[in-house]
């Protein structure tokens, strides 16, 4: 649904500085000599990647024709993979719903993201180019999420990925299990949690029916209700539910709710997903899995397994990984998939789980997630094997613009840490494009 929308955000640009950056992309860029793992097909040794106007125009072997006047970038010895897509993150110091109630669908992450948060630079340093920024899990429904491109930006609007109609793209965040349990009006038990959510979805269904009955007659149109409108989008499958859930019974409760109301859903974390693989596969619901170094820390994660990704994948479930940043560090996102490989997941599936699988969960599969001609030029230059501890993210590119370079001392500060690495950043960190994309 996003295909055809201008991938460059040039149309949004007001600043002369950023316009210069956009103009710099006009020179074609040719990355040559790398091992390219395009994810949509076999690995290409000594491959060539050609970028024009922020899009991929060619991916192929060394013999791939190069456009005239292109800037050639030698990537011998490097590995190029698609930009990583994180389907669940809390960077941007995002906050959604407040303590007044358990269900707040009118709240938007868009209005609570700080684009100067260093978490954004750190995510770029980890090779992440697109991310689903979500409010937290302390509510049954904590608000609307925001799908972002990690461009170097001045405003949150420039981070946002947009739908064809110009609206910002995003899902909605729900949670069950222990995190949303508190004193009333929050639920105190699982049964109450499900009842509250079902009641709210019924209200949304009523609202949807009233809207449908009114058609274009303003006299019959129900009063506007921002929360119910967001939930109507959920019922109409326009807005995906991103559902935090850990324990096997909680996972099955989500599937029950999903079947009752017919919304589209991604299961997140799924610590006990390995105990519900059959049911999840049968429901054809994708899983965004968190990889944590040990079980426990909370009751519902006591049976966490590092094999979850491998088991769900083998059962036929679409599997992605996420950082849940700050639970795990965006700079080590590749590590999550590497640990899954360690636990038995095929390498190609593990790389897909960082890229195209997550893109699918965000309805962005036509635009990002693989190195495919026509897609956005979002990619990562690695020093070696994506799943080796010795490999560094050397460069991250978004829509043909370099947004991270390990050779740059300021960027290296974000990559490793150090004095000032966690302070809010100035907006002037957007300079690579001025040097012809390098």
């Amino acid at each position: 649904m996003l295909r055809g929308f201008p991938s460059s955000f040039a149309s949004l640009l007001l600043s002369g500085l950023l316009a210069a950056v956009a103009a710099a992309q006009d020179a074609p860029l040719v990355f040559f000599g790398a091992r390219i793992e395009p994810v949509d097909g076999p690995v290409i040794e000594q491959g060539v990647l050609v970028v024009v106007g922020g899009r991929i125009v060619a991916v192929g072997p060394a013999s791939t024709p190069r456009p005239e006047g292109a800037i050639a970038i030698d990537c011998a010895g490097k590995t190029i993979v698609p930009g990583l897509v994180c389907s669940h993150s809390h960077i941007g110091s995002v906050a959604g719903a407040d303590g007044s109630g358990p269900i707040q669908p009118e709240v938007r992450a868009l209005d609570g993201i700080n684009p100067r948060d260093p978490g954004i630079q750190k995510a770029q340093a980890g090779g992440i180019t697109a991310v689903n920024i979500m409010p937290g899990s302390g509510h049954l429904l904590s608000g609307q999420t925001l799908y972002c491109k990690l461009r170097d930006v001045r405003t949150v609007e420039e981070l946002a990925i947009r739908n064809e109609d110009g609206s910002v793209a995003g899902g909605i965040k729900m949670a069950n299990g222990t995190n949303p349990q508190r004193d009333a009006p929050f639920p105190g038990t699982r049964g109450k949690a499900a009842a509250l959510m079902r009641a709210q979805l019924h209200r949304a269904r009523d609202h949807q029916q009233k809207l449908a009955a009114a058609k274009d007659d303003p006299s019959k149109t129900p009063e506007r209700n921002l929360g119910l409108e967001a939930l109507v989008e959920v019922l109409e499958k326009k807005r995906v539910v991103h559902h935090h859930t850990h324990r096997q019974d909680d996972i099955l409760t989500v599937l029950r709710l999903q079947q009752e109301f017919g919304f589209r859903c991604v299961l997140h974390h799924v610590s006990e997903g390995w105990l519900a693989a059959k049911e999840i596969a049968a429901a054809n619901v994708p899983c965004s899995v968190i990889v944590i170094d040990s079980p426990g820390g909370k009751l519902e994660a006591a049976n966490l397994s590092l094999q979850t990704g491998a088991i769900l994948d083998a059962a036929g479930v679409l599997v992605g990984f996420h950082t849940d940043d700050g639970i795990t560090d965006s700079r080590l996102f590749l590590r999550s998939a590497a640990l899954a490989v360690r636990a038995g997941m095929p390498r190609d599936k593990a790389l897909a789980a960082l890229t195209i699988a997550n893109a699918r969960m965000l309805d962005l599969q036509d635009r990002i997630g693989t190195l495919t001609v026509g897609k956005d030029a979002d990619f990562v230059v690695l020093s070696g094997d994506p799943f080796s501890v010795y490999t560094r993210v050397e460069q991250t590119w978004v829509e043909g613009n370099k947004v991270f370079d390990l050779a740059d001392p300021q960027d290296r500060l974000f990559a490793d840490g150090g004095f000032g690495a966690s302070d809010d950043q100035s907006v002037s960190l957007c300079c690579y494009g001025q040097q012809g994309g390098q």
Partner: protein
């Protein structure tokens, strides 16, 4: 160790040859579901004959461990090495050609074998897996200064996280009271058999856990409420302990005071103060107190230690850098994953730790933290030293563990490749000559 990766086919052929020579005899770990490993990671002892017992056999068996790459940490790594284990000790170690392994000796083999890893600072066994009040014994909040709290009385050897760590090659841990109070209590050194504190203890009193900075403040209006008050209270306690010790030296009938007696052990330099602090000013305070009272200080966490390298060097302090993956927020906001490398470059002695976690992961895995430090520039050999010989030296247990030397405890970690690589598995651990499986594939 990276060389191993290039030699992988050779190692595989070598392993096949060993298999042919020595026949079976290896340890068969029963396939387990994730449930078996996560819900109830059985601390079962797997004997060389493949039997699984709930308790350790009366006397540890004799067996040999062959390694394509044997890191003894007492000399250069050995290509094609073997360790002969007898009575829980290392009976022989060296190149295969030089070690006489009696016929019929049960054999295990692995691509890489190292000394059992030492987690130089953890709270495992006190900060339990469920993270509910009843299994969190690393911090007593009733008073700010309680050095009399013994780790031995709080360590739950049966907590599932003990077995979890053992599954990653960790055989010894320095664990005990955690950060969060000015003086939270004592720490101990324990082998990760998972039997009981008394059966597994190596050293019942290792250090006194002190926290400076924001992390050591008391809640509400209770003291200490500021940095300066924290230091004043610590100095006061040490001063009283000194006076009390003098009194007891003169008068054998002077009353026992557990809190002052414990602190007196720091004044005698019998144990160091383990000072958890991150900001540079708090690290300086720790050094200042150490100098004033002549106590040994180990800097724990030390996120901004890179700002004070000359001062730390001058004080001769050991540093336990925070886990490489510790979250860079709060007092760690200026932390860097490269801290171990920076310490190594400056020649500051250090060991690696899993630290304390309040949430998830409930325990970090020191092998993983070392891996990330290696990914940020620490050499694999330096990392392995920090996990073995150097940690043993810091904990003053190097007469027993940390290197593969005849007569030392038979503590081994077996890997199927470079131990620091994300995709490498620990395929077994040996503690005091007892062999442990690693649970489910993970």
């Amino acid at each position: 160790m990276r060389a191993l990766l290039r030699l992988a086919p050779l190692a595989a052929a070598w392993l096949a040859a060993c298999e042919a020579l020595h026949g079976g005899g290896g340890v068969a770990t029963a396939p387990q579901t994730p449930a078996a490993s996560a819900a109830a990671p059985a601390p079962a002892v797997v004997t060389p004959t493949g039997g699984v017992g709930a308790t350790a056999p009366a006397s540890p068996p004799t067996f040999a461990v062959f390694a394509a790459e044997l890191w003894t940490m007492a000399g250069a790594p050995i290509r094609d090495g073997v360790v002969l284990v007898r009575d829980g000790k290392i009976a022989a170690v060296g190149p295969v050609a030089d070690v006489d392994v009696p016929d019929g000796t049960p054999a295990r083999r692995a691509a890489v074998v190292t000394p059992g890893l030492i987690d130089a600072h953890a709270t495992v066994g006190l900060s339990g897996v469920l993270n509910v009040p009843h299994d969190q014994d690393m911090l007593e909040r009733s008073a700010p200064v309680q050095p009399e709290l013994r780790a031995l009385d709080a360590y739950n050897a049966r907590d599932p996280l003990v077995g979890w760590l053992r599954g990653f090659g960790v055989t010894t841990a320095h664990t005990g009271h955690g950060p969060g109070a000015l003086v939270a209590g004592q720490t101990m050194v324990v082998k990760l058999h998972g039997r009981s504190a008394d059966a597994d203890v190596v050293k019942s009193l290792a250090m006194l856990a002190v926290t400076l900075g924001e992390g050591g403040r008391s809640a509400g209006n209770k003291s200490p409420g500021t940095r300066a008050k924290s230091v004043a209270m610590l100095r006061e306690h040490l001063q009283k302990a000194r006076e009390h010790a003098q009194k007891r030296a003169k008068d054998p009938n002077a009353p026992v005071d557990l809190a002052l007696d414990a602190a007196a052990k720091a004044l005698d330099r019998e144990v160091p103060l383990l000072v958890t602090a991150h900001r540079a000013l708090d690290l300086q305070s720790a050094l200042r107190v150490g100098k004033e009272f002549g106590v040994d200080v180990v800097l724990d966490g030390a996120a901004e230690a890179y700002e004070l390298l000359p001062e730390i060097q001058a004080a001769g302090c050991w540093v336990l850098p925070h886990p490489a993956m510790a979250r860079a927020s709060g007092e760690l906001k200026n932390g860097t994953m490269a801290l171990p490398k920076l310490l190594a470059t400056a020649g500051v002695p250090f060991a690696l730790q899993s630290g304390y976690e309040a949430y998830v992961p409930k325990t970090r895995v020191v092998l993983f933290e070392a891996g990330v430090a290696v990914g940020r520039g620490l050499s694999p050999e330096q990392a392995l030293r920090a996990l073995t010989v150097d940690a043993a030296r810091l904990l003053r247990i190097d007469d027993r563990v940390g290197s593969l030397v005849v007569g030392k405890d038979a503590d081994l970690a077996l890997f199927d490749g470079d131990p620091f690589e994300y995709t490498t598995h620990c395929v077994g651990t040996v503690i005091d000559g007892l062999q442990y499986g690693v649970g489910a594939p993970r």
